[in-house]
Symmetry: C2
Subunit: 364 residues, 2 copies
């Protein structure tokens, strides 16, 4: 029998959100790997992108591979012989942490669109609470890829002494209009699916068509044209049905992108997707002063590593360059690395060789 590896931090008090609303006793689902040392100095917090659960890697309770399986474990880049690693499902998501599909204690029904406006700052503050709950005064390192990089920035901004180090991967101080436009379109694909029913969909009749379209767009734009060239070229699928229409999948690339999304769309709550997607658009770490040095003037962060990818056009390399320049202006030791990967924004999920090397080097 599979043991459950997910732990739950059910807050005993309310969580006040950035927009002033509150969540009563929200839950944060998290997993850990390795052991916390005696002086509590070896904890690494991993903040996730939009879609992952807390299951970043397999462990003794759950042998299923995690979303960062190749990077987390004994003797891996994030070495669980050495570090106590924490990964939580983001607030607003749907894999155990409180989100739009959770029960609203006021109504005893799922929140759906009554879930308050969610911001990256709220995900961050819930993780600061979790860190305190685990008795950790200062994290060794926060590692934040993609949306998780924004969360990491917000954690340190809100709690300037919470970490000694930070690794920011394929992220930005704020989203640029091209990626806002793509996410806006993904949301419209979902909200224009009649099954979405203004967020009040039946769990037995999810807006799967809209979710499938949104995931297709995500997959095609999170990677790079060069990767699709190398993997599929203009190859046709085999066994095209004799009654196939001109518009049915014909090329391997369209078939892959259309059918690969099954797992995601059946497991990810559409409203969670909408809330998290919008939170990414709205985040701007410099929203108070328009100055990164000003926003981070109280931090005790010692060292930052910023990793970007040449082929990423969701958070293009210029975004990481900007982060590095502004942290250097803040007087923080910041190091920038540009990886040559063909997998675009998703490189951190698949190019474990390049990312593993860069992360390992920084942590040692």
């Amino acid at each position: 029998m599979k043991k459950v590896s997910v732990q739950n931090y059910s807050m005993q008090s309310k969580l006040e959100l950035k927009n002033g609303e509150i969540l009563i006793s929200p839950n944060i689902a998290y997993e850990t790997w390795g052991n916390l040392n005696a002086d509590l100095s070896n904890a690494i917090l991993i903040t996730t992108g939009l879609s992952p659960s807390s299951h970043a890697a397999s462990n003794e309770h759950d042998s299923q591979k995690g979303w960062w399986e190749k990077l987390i474990g004994p003797n891996k880049a994030i070495d669980t012989n050495q570090f106590f690693v924490i990964c939580a499902n983001s607030l607003g998501s749907c894999f155990g942490s409180t989100g739009p599909s959770s029960i609203n204690p006021k109504t005893n029904q799922p929140y759906k669109l009554l879930f308050p406006k969610l911001s990256i700052e709220d995900i961050a503050s819930s993780l600061i609470r979790l860190t305190n709950h685990l008795g950790i005064k200062q994290l060794h390192t926060i590692v934040g890829p993609s949306m998780g990089g924004m969360t990491a920035l917000s954690i340190v901004k809100q709690s300037p002494e919470i970490a000694k180090q930070m690794i920011l991967i394929s992220t930005s101080t704020s989203s640029r209009p091209f990626s806002i436009a793509l996410r806006s379109l993904q949301r419209k694909m979902i909200t224009s699916d009649p099954a979405w029913k203004n967020g009040d969909y039946d769990l037995a009749d999810l807006p799967l068509e809209g979710m499938r379209l949104a995931r297709f767009l995500g997959m095609v734009t999170y990677r790079s044209p060069e990767e699709w060239n190398q993997r599929f070229g203009r190859e046709l699928i085999e066994n095209i049905a004799t009654n196939a229409s001109l518009f049915d999948n014909t090329f391997q690339v369209e078939d892959y992108l259309h059918n690969r999304s099954d797992d995601f769309i059946k497991n990810f709550d559409p409203n969670s997707y909408l809330y998290l997607s919008r939170a990414i658009d709205l985040f701007d770490v410099m929203d108070e002063s328009n100055s990164l040095p000003e926003e981070f003037k109280q931090t005790t962060l010692k060292k930052i590593k910023i990793i970007g990818v040449n082929s990423d056009y969701i958070f293009p390399f210029e975004c990481q360059k900007e982060l590095n320049e502004k942290f250097l202006l803040s007087g923080i030791e910041s190091e920038l690395i540009k990886l040559q990967s063909i997998q675009g924004h998703d490189s951190f999920l698949v190019d474990d060789l390049n990312f593993g090397k860069a992360i390992f080097k920084f942590l040692q």
Copy 2:
């Protein structure tokens, strides 16, 4: 009263299509500018991208601006004092030429999905017929942007002596998988709109939501991230409704892309869009021999100019580079130019300064 400038070439005989089916007496809607000279040597044929009508420029019969208004006219880059310019609505489209919304003579109903499988080669052969119909033995130049570049290639391949010169703009020998994937997704947006009704939609109840999503994706990807940065940055729209949901348009970029599509989606036949979009995917000018020199060994083309744009990722510059290299191997005088425009694939529609200069220089 507005005079009608569109002329109709209604074929007196059937048109045999690439897939073996036939169209009985199809119509090609076209417009002309300037005068054909005595020795019939000054005709320029413009082959269009997916969406335009034949109305490339205003003229004495129709003062409405055309889609290439700034490039076609007296003393403009394509100088109508000097040239007789022809532009036709592509076969399969919906602005006068026969397409899925035309009446099927067999049923006296619109073809809809009974329209035969359309290929770029069919658009090309209908334009060869039109050229003959106009009494022109040899065109001075064919100018083909985007899908029109593929049409131009096919025209010369099918009728090797039909033109002295060719200008290919932001096009390719065949589509690459990234753009196939984007078009596949656009088609799915339309076909998954319940109002599409398997192609049998009511003209009073078009699949407008699907068309709007498809156009949004087109607009965001036909341009470049740099352009969206410069035009909109992270500016919010003014006057956000007090009852607006978190997912309503908030940023100017999403509002623009969502609302800018109105004209297009109300005027373009969804089935035409599907047929033309798929035809672009399927085209491969080297489909017979896998060799451009082999496919064009009989051509009497004297000179080719190939124009690409640095920021185009629908037909990236590598595609134009490949065309140039292969035409040079064919022993044809071919010249390649890379324009620095921030408007991506759509640059030829908006960057009239750069394009005007390049086209003018070649034609003189």
